[in-house]
Subunit: 267 residues, 4 copies
C-alpha cells in the first residue's frame, strides 16, 4: 500500500461575476489542482488567480479540459469530431500553461472534465483525441482519470503516464465502478465516514462497496469535490485522517517547483 | 532607407463553419502572420491549421490579441479594466503559443486587433495592460503597432521592442495619421497604385498624403489586409514590386526557425 | 399528387462579420425561410434583415431552432436534458418572433436544425422536448421535418400539425431514408438532375433510389440547401422546372400575410 | 407625494450552473422584476423559472436589457453602433416576452442594465437606439431608468412612458446624482437607515444628500439590489417600513394580470 497519496480537486470553476466553491480554502487541502481552462468554466482572471495561489502553496497545476460548453458547464456529452477535440484540448492546456508560467510553474498533468471525463472512459475516438493533444503538447504530462478506462488504456499504449483516482465521496459497486449519481447512497455526505473510507483504502487497498462486500480500488490520487456545501470541511477531514494514519500527502507529480502542501500543514 | 521590409497580415479570422479571407494564399505573400486567437475570431482548428501552414512556409507567427467580442469581431471599443485586459491578452498569447509550439515554432510578437489596436494608440491604461501581459509572458516579444502610439511609448519605456507598421492600402494625412476609414479616398483599391506607394515609401521614406504633400512614415513592416476582395492580388502586387525594386522581403523577427518566405519566391 | 409545393431553405446563417450563403437571392426562390435564431448561427442584425426581406417578399418565416453551439454550427449532437432543450427552443422561437413581428408578420412554423434535426428523428426524449416548446409557445405552429420521424409522431399525438420535407439534392435509399452524407453519390450536384427528380416526385410521388428502384417519398415541402456553391442556381432550376411542370409553388402555411413568392415570379 | 410606490430589483442573473442572489425571496419583496435576458446573465432555464414565479406572485416582468457581454456581466461600456444595439435590445425583449407569455403574462417594461444603463444617461446615440427598439417592439412599454437622463428625454419625445427610479442603498449628491460607487459612503448598508430614507423620500420627496443638505428625488419606483449580501433583508426592511408608513406597494404598470404582491403580504 502506498505510504503517500495525492489529493486533487476541481478549481477555478467560476466565470466572470459568478463564483463556485472556495478555491483558496481548497488550495490549502489539495496537492493537485485541476484548473478549469475557460471552456466549461474559468476566465482569464480566475486562471491567473488560481495559478498564482496554487504556485504559492506548492500545489501542482493540472489542466481540467472540457467540451466547449459554458451554458452546460461541460456536463453534456457532445459528439465532437476527434480533430476538433484534440485542438480544443490543446487550446485549453496551452492557455492555462501561460498562466502557470506567469506564476513560475507549468501545467503538470491533464484531467478531462464532466461529460468528457465520462465519455473517454469508454469512447476510444474521443479518448484517442485527448491523448493526441497531450502527445502533441508535451508527452511528459500524465493523464489523471478513472482506472481501467479506455482513456488510460490508449494513453498507456501511447507511452503517456496514467494516474488513477478514487472518489472520496462516491459509493462504489462491487465491480469497482461508481454507483450512478442518481441512485440512493451514491454520494456520501458524512465527512467522518468519507475520511474513514479513504484511510481504509490507503491502508488496505479496499473499501466497502454498495452491497457491503469489499472492493479493491486503484488510487494514485483522491478526488475531493470542491463545489459542494461542506466541501472544504470534508476535504480537511480526509486530509487530517490520512495524515493521522501516517499517510504522506503529496503530489503524484514530482519536482513541482515550490514546497508542496504536505510541507505546509493546513491551519 | 531599409534594404528589407516585413509584410504582415491578419490571418486565421474565420470561426467554426465561417471563413474569412484566404489564409493559405496570404501565407505565400507575407513574412509575418497576425493570427487571431479566439477572442474576436479564430477557433482551435483554425489556429492549428494556420500555425502549421505558417511554420511550413517560414512565416513568423504573431498573436493578434483582441477584446473578447466574437459578435462584434473585436471592432467595438470596450472599457475593459486593465487587470482583466492583461489576463485576456495573456490567455490569447498562451493559447496561440501552444499551437505554434505544436507546429515547431513559437509566438514571436504581439499585435493588438481592431478596436483594441485603435484604443491603445491613445489610451495609456489599456496600452499599459497590453504591455504588462507581454512583460509577464515573454519580454522578448516585440509589439507590432502604430508608430508614435501610446502603446509603443509605454512598451519602449518598459524595455520591449516596438515594431512600426505602415498600411499599404490606406491614405495618410499630411500629419502622418490614417485618413479615417469613412472619408472619401481613405482606402486605396488599385494594386498598381498601392504597390508604387510602398516602393516609394521603402526607397524614399515618404508617401504622398491625402493633400498631395509628402509625408514621412516609419515602417518596419507593411500591413496587407487579408480579408478584402482582391486582397491576395494586392498583396502579391506589393511584394512583387518591392522585390523588383531590390527590397528584400523578410520578417522583422530574426531566427524564426524555418526558411522564411523571402527564400521561397511566391508562385 | 399535390398540384402545389412549398420550397424551404435555411437562411440567416451568418454571424457577426461572417456571412454564409446569399439570403436575399434565396428569398427569391423559396416560399418558406428557416431562419437561424442565434444558437448555431444568426445574430440580431441578421434576424432583423432576413425577417424584413422575407416579409417584403411574402416568404413565410419559420424558426430554425438548434442546440446552443456556435462553434460547431449546431452540427454536433448534444445530450441536452429535455427541460433545458424545451427552454432553449422557446427562447429561440420567441426571439425570432420579435423580429418577425417588427417585420409585420410572425413565426409560422418550427424546424430543428443540424444535429438536433437528426436526433429528433429517433430520440423521443429530445423530440418530446421540442414538441413541448411548441405546445407552450403556440400550438398553431407546425413542425417541419422528416416524415416518419419520432418528432412527427410525438407532434401528431400532441395535436400539432406536421409538415414533411424531401431533400432536393440528396439521394434516397430504397427504404426512403437519406443516403448518409459521406457515401458516394449522397449529394447530387447537377441542377438539371435535381430539378428533374423533384418534378418526378411531385408528379408521380416517387424518385429513383440509390439502387435504381423507385421509392415513394412524402413531401409537403422541398428543402433547398442555401449555403453550397451554386445553391441559388440549383434552387432556381428546381423552382423553374416545377413551375414549368404546372406545379404551384406556395407556402405550406396559409395566410402568411403579404403576397407569397409564387405571385412574384423570380427575375 | 405618492401614496404608493413600486419596488424593482434585478433578477434572473445567474447563468448555467452559476447562481446570483435569491430570486424567489426577492420576488416576495418587489412588485416589478427586471429579468436578465441572456446577454449579460440569464439563460433560458432561468428566464422560464423567474417568469413563472413572478407571474404566480403577480410581480410585473420587465426586460433588463444589456450589452452582449457575459464575461463582463454587461458592466463594461461598449461602443456598439445604434443599429446593432437596437437589434440586440429587440432580441432580448422578444426572447423574454416568450417566457412571460408561457407564464401567462407579458413583458411590461424595459430597463437597461449595467454599463448600458449608465451610458444611456448621457449618450444620445445609444439612448436613441434603445428607444427605437421599444418603439419597434411595443410602444406601450415604459422605460424604467434614471430621472433626467438622455434616455428618458428621448423616450418622452418619442411618446414612450418613462418611469423614474431612486436607489434605496445609494447616497445622493446635493445635485441629485448618485455618489460614485468607489467614493466612501456611496453604498448604504444599514437596512434601518435605508428603510428610513425611503420612507422620508416617499413622504416628503427629499432625502439627505452626501453633504447633509436635503435633495429632491423623483421616484416612481425604488430599486432594491438583489445580489448583495443581506439584499433580501434590506428589501424586506424597506417594504415593511413603507407599508408601516401607509405607503401602498404596487407596480407602476397597471393591470399586470394576476394579483400583485401588494395584495400578498410578505411572510
Amino acid at each position: 500500500m502506498p505510504a503517500s497519496i495525492d489529493l486533487n480537486s476541481d478549481l477555478g470553476e467560476g466565470f466572470g461575476t459568478w463564483t463556485l466553491g472556495d478555491d483558496e480554502a481548497m488550495l490549502e487541502v489539495v496537492t493537485s489542482a485541476n484548473v478549469a481552462c475557460g471552456f466549461h468554466a474559468g476566465d482569464p482572471n480566475i486562471l491567473r488567480r488560481v495559478c498564482a495561489h496554487a504556485a504559492k502553496r506548492g500545489v501542482v497545476i493540472g489542466a481540467q479540459v472540457s467540451y466547449r460548453d459554458l451554458a452546460g458547464f461541460g456536463r453534456r456529452s457532445m459528439d465532437v469530431d476527434p480533430v476538433t477535440l484534440t485542438n480544443d484540448v490543446l487550446y485549453q492546456i496551452a492557455a492555462l500553461d501561460g498562466f502557470a508560467k506567469v506564476a513560475g510553474t507549468a501545467v503538470r498533468y491533464v484531467k478531462p472534465h464532466g461529460a468528457l471525463y465520462n465519455t473517454v472512459v469508454h469512447d476510444a475516438r474521443q479518448a484517442g483525441a485527448v491523448v493526441e493533444a497531450v502527445l502533441l503538447y508535451d508527452r511528459g504530462l500524465p493523464l489523471l482519470g478513472l482506472p481501467q478506462s479506455v482513456l488510460h488504456s490508449i494513453a498507456a499504449q501511447s507511452g503517456l503516464r496514467t494516474v488513477s483516482e478514487a472518489f472520496a465521496d462516491r459509493a462504489y459497486t462491487p465491480e469497482g465502478t461508481l454507483v450512478p449519481r442518481d441512485s440512493p447512497g451514491a454520494v456520501l455526505v458524512d465527512p467522518r465516514e468519507v475520511a474513514d473510507r479513504m484511510v481504509q483504502l490507503l491502508t488496505t487497498g479496499v473499501v466497502g462497496s454498495s452491497t457491503g462486500t469489499e472492493v479493491a480500488i486503484k488510487a494514485d490520487s483522491i478526488c475531493l469535490h470542491g463545489d459542494t456545501p461542506g466541501a472544504v470541511q470534508m476535504g480537511r477531514a480526509v486530509r487530517d485522517a490520512l495524515t493521522a494514519a501516517g499517510i504522506t500527502i503529496r503530489p503524484f507529480v514530482n519536482g513541482a517547483g515550490a514546497a508542496p502542501n504536505d510541507a505546509q500543514p493546513a491551519p
